[in-house]
Each structure stands twice: as structure tokens, then as C-alpha cells.
Amino acid sequence: MRYGITNILRSLPKSIALVCAAMVLTLSICIISQSIVTQTQSLEDVYSEYIIETVITDQFCIEETNLAMNSKYYNIISQNLHGIRDYITDIKIRSSFSSNYTYMFDDKVERELGGSVVGLTYLPDEEEFKHEFNLMPLYDESILLDSRPSCIVPKRMMEDMGWEYYTVRLRYDKQEENEFVEFNIVGTHEGPDNIYCSYESFNDELTKGTVSIYSFRFNLINSKYTGEVAKILKFYFIEPSIVGAIRRELNELKILFRYTFVMPKGNLDDVVKPIESDIRKLKIAEPFLFVLSVATGLVVSFMSTKNRKAEFAVMRSLGTGKAMVFFEAFFEQLLLCLTGMLLGIAVFFAIYRQNAVLVVWKIAVFFVCYMSGTAISVLNVALVNVMKIMKANE
């Protein structure tokens, strides 16, 4: 070790050249991996800022049929088919429409109100409400949620009743006297613009948009999942590219393919593609750098040790063991490489300051690559045939 250090110090120009080689390589690897990190980060940012709202609508886009969306589709989400829940959020089943309904509380009071908003249009997380949410079982075509269907009633009505009711019975059809269905009251409204519900999004969703639009929609957790989600949706719905084509077969839920999904990506691709291609290029460059490291380690230490065969042979002839000679030679290279690496990292931090992200395993891989290159050429000199030392004399 002492020998190695002495050697490094007394052949400074050579040592500096070796340190520089390791430094430049380390710096390149740091910069490339930094670029990959920052590019990947900005890609992630784009993806997470881009909200893709997927909407499922009737292929024919007629109001009436829109309303007839089969509640079985709800199973896709409630049963988490194909793991779709992992990719989506903000699930909404939206419907607001004006109609005349008859409300009845406790079989006593019956009221008729116009322009009411009926129906729960949002599928919240379970814990956001005290009761369970399921689609009304018998109402296959219903948009109303909950095992016992929920609804939002006029505020005035609740005030009249003294806020003491949690359920209401509702009659759809005035002709059929006994057709009352019981609902849970989950909110009140004062017309479509003022809805009071325990969850803000309710209000938002119910008041937004035009009346009589029915849709089943959700957002992607991250817009990078468009591919995955589209793949799942293709099992149940007609994919956007073939909208207009009528498919007669049944989907996985044994329902006729009839609904289409729309997943507007906007200019996402325009933003993402260049970044992705940058990252791809950087990732291609990276392994080359590692290969280059092996080569550089090999060449550089070959150059610096090729004239020193005699020196190592002398060591051997003086009784230094093979392993020790290898270690001496290797240690020199190791020290130079480490110095170069540290300098490279220092320069890297000087350039990028607080934004610097050091990917340690890449530095480690570089180190291993470089040193294995070095080891090959060091082996070549250190394991010299000792007999050769005599030949130098002739």
C-alpha cells in the first residue's frame, strides 16, 4: 500500500491523467442519470397533472337510451374487475333530471314537488357516508345508488318535517298508487343550484352540466394508465376507435356491447412523446457508458502498467507473493479511481447543487465496471512469469 501511494505521488502527471479519466466518466454517468431522473420526474408531473376523464355513454347518444344504462356496469367497479380500481378515482354516476315526484314521509305526509333533483349521482368512498352504497338491486336501469336507494330532497320539505326523517318514500308514477320506493335521505336541495350534501363533490357534480345527461365516469389516477384502463374497458365497452360500428356480441358481463367509452387525451401525447424519447435515448446511452467504463478501466490501467512488468517481476523476485503484487498494483488503480470518482461527484454537486440526485447504485456499477477493466490489465502485469525477469538482462 505504501508502495502504491509513493508511486502515485511520484508519477503525478500519469496519476492525474488516470484520475481525470475516472472523473470524467463518473461525471458523465452522474449527469446522464441526473437527466434521467429529472426527465422522468417531469414526465411524472405531466402525467399526474393531466386529468383524463373517462366517460361511458350510449353508442347512439339518445337521451332516453342514455338513461337506460345497465346497472350491471357498476359491477366493473364495485367488484373491481381486472383490478380497475387500482387505476381510477373520482367515480361518478351522474344523473340529474327534472320531474314531478311525490314524496311521502312515514306514510303520513304526501307532497308533490316539481323540478326536484332526484338520485344520487356520485359514488363516494364508503367511509364518506354512514351507510353502504350499492346500486338499487331491482332497478336495473336505475341510476340510484344504495342498497336502500338514496336521494336528495327539497330543503323546505325537510324544514317542514323538522329534520327528523332519514328516509323518504317516493312515487315515480302518479297513476300507480302503491308504487312507492323507499330512499335514504342523504342531502337536501333548494333547486338544482343549491344542493346540500355531506360531500362537496356531490354538489359540484349535481349542479354542473345540463339536465338529463347520464353518464358513468371516472378519472384516471394518473394519466400514464390510459393504456391499461383502455385495455380493461375494451372487455365491456366499444373502444373509441370503432365508435359507430355496431357489435352484436356479448361482453364479459353477458350484455350486448353497446356503450362506448371516451377517453380524451387532448394534447397529452404531444407533451409526453418528446420527453419519453429523451428518456429512451438517455437510457440507451447509459449501458454504453458502463461498457465504456470497463474499456476505459482496461485501457487506462493497461497504459499505466504496461511498462511496469519488470517492476512487478522484481517484486515477485524479492519474495512478494502473487496476491500481494496484484493487490499493490490494483490498489494504486483503486485509489486513483476512487479519487476520480469523488472528484467527479464533487463537480457534479457543484454543477447541480441542491437539485443533484445521486443514483448511488449507478455509481457503484460504474465503479465495479471500471475496476473490473482495471483488474484485467493489472492481472496481466501482476501475474507475470517471474522467469522473465532474467530475460530482461539479455
Partner: protein, 229 residues
């Protein structure tokens, strides 16, 4: 005199793709302490190869080299080279980036001797070959050939070996420096009791040697007793 190194029917071959060269062929001899031996013969007759075997750089293919009753084949050659023999080369083979004294200290460090003590010993060794402290800090490139060879001898002495082997140690030196080196080697054999074996073309060494071994085609042909002794 005490027998220290013995060569018994040694054979050494160099092999390559095309041929096998028997560089040393059935060579036998006994070397004693306190004597200066000269090995002479035409170029290519196997002198260097013989010396390499004695130096423990390799072992003979057949026969044996026996040091103090032990076959080198059974020894750890690294340890043998470190402790029992020392070699001096025609082109000195000093470590180019170590100073003169560091070169001499190298074998001492190898033996695990601490820096301070090694320095004292090395200085003593250099003194004994006529190099004072002015030479200590010089790199080999700043020394003349004769001085370099003396450093090499000091390094050989530092190893505290019993046997000193030299392959044409005066080959690169002018006659005055050569004489100087021969003087040192002779003194080492006769006054300090080393067994010194010198391969040489130099008739002066042969003249001073206690025994001259003449080789031809890897074989020992004649053994002349020195007339003086």
C-alpha cells in the same frame, strides 16, 4: 566449508509451440558458504536459467535444487526468495520511483520490519557498499550505473539471505565500476561468509573466483579450483 546449496541432476526446459529447449541439462553441483563462484560459458548455454532455479524463480523439471537440506520443490518459493536468496541483475532492476534508500528498505518492509528500524538497517547496508547518506534520497535515474548496482547489492544484503546470486552484474559497467562491484562481492563471500554465485563473461571475476563453473549446452563441463586457494 558448510554446504548450503546443492543442485542435483537438474533439468530445465523451455517449451513453446514449435520446440522444447533443454536449457539446463543434468546439472549437478554443491555450493558452499564463504565462497565466490563464477559461472561461465557461451551465450545461450543455460547460465541464466541455472541462476533462476537457484533464485527460486522456478523449480527444475527433473532433479532438484536443495537449500540447507530442503528441496525447493517442497518450499514456499515466495518465502525462499524473501529470506534465503538475493539476486543482483545486470540492469540493476531497482524500483524506478523509489529512492535509493527506499529500494533497500523494500525487502525489510516485506519481512515486516518497522519503518524506523528498516531505515537504520538500510543506511547501514548502503554504507557497507560505499554509499553515504548523500545518496539516500536519490531516485535510481539520478544515480550512475555503478551506484545503481551498489544500491542493488545493498538491497540484496538487506534481505539477510545466505546466498547472493548475480547475473552479469558488471555487464553494463565500465571497468572501474566493475572492479568496484567485484570487490564488494568478493568481500561478501570471503569476509561475511555469504555464498556468492556470479554468472559472468568478465574474466576478472573468474580470476577472483574460488571456483569457476564452465557450462556448455546446459551441462557443467569443467570445474576449476582456484589456484590461489
Amino acid at each position: 566449508m558448510e554446504k548450503i546449496l546443492e543442485v542435483k541432476n537438474a533439468v530445465y526446459e523451455y517449451r513453446n509451440k514449435y520446440q522444447t529447449v533443454k536449457a539446463v541439462n543434468d546439472f549437478s553441483f554443491e555450493f558452499e558458504r564463504g565462497k565466490l563462484y563464477a559461472v561461465v560459458g557461451k551465450s545461450g548455454c543455460g547460465k541464466t536459467t541455472l541462476l533462476a532455479m537457484l533464485a527460486g524463480l522456478d523449480v527444475p523439471k527433473e532433479g532438484s535444487v536443495v537449500y540447507k537440506g530442503k528441496d525447493t520443490k517442497e518450499m514456499n518459493l515466495d518465502k525462499y526468495r524473501r529470506d534465503d536468496v538475493a539476486v543482483i541483475y545486470q540492469d540493476y532492476n531497482l524500483f524506478p520511483l523509489l529512492t535509493a534508500i527506499e529500494n533497500v528498505m523494500y525487502p525489510l518492509h516485506l519481512k515486516g520490519i518497522k519503518d524506523k528500524e528498516a531505515k537504520v538497517t538500510a543506511a547501514k547496508m548502503m554504507d557497507s557498499v560505499g554509499l553515504d547518506s548523500a545518496f539516500h534520497k536519490r531516485l535510481p535515474s539520478m544515480l550512475s550505473g555503478g551506484e545503481q548496482q551498489r544500491v542493488a547489492i545493498a538491497r540484496a544484503l538487506a534481505a539477510k539471505a545466505d546466498v547472493i546470486l548475480a547475473d552479469e552484474p558488471t555487464g553494463n559497467l565500465d571497468s572501474e565500476n566493475g572492479k568496484n562491484i567485484i570487490g564488494i562481492l568478493k568481500k561478501l563471500a570471503h569476509e561475511e561468509g555469504y555464498c556468492v554465485i556470479v554468472v559472468t563473461h568478465d574474466s576478472e571475476i573468474s580470476a577472483d573466483a574460488d571456483e569457476v563453473l564452465s557450462m556448455r549446452d546446459g551441462k557443467l563441463v569443467t570445474k576449476q579450483e582456484d589456484k590461489v586457494n
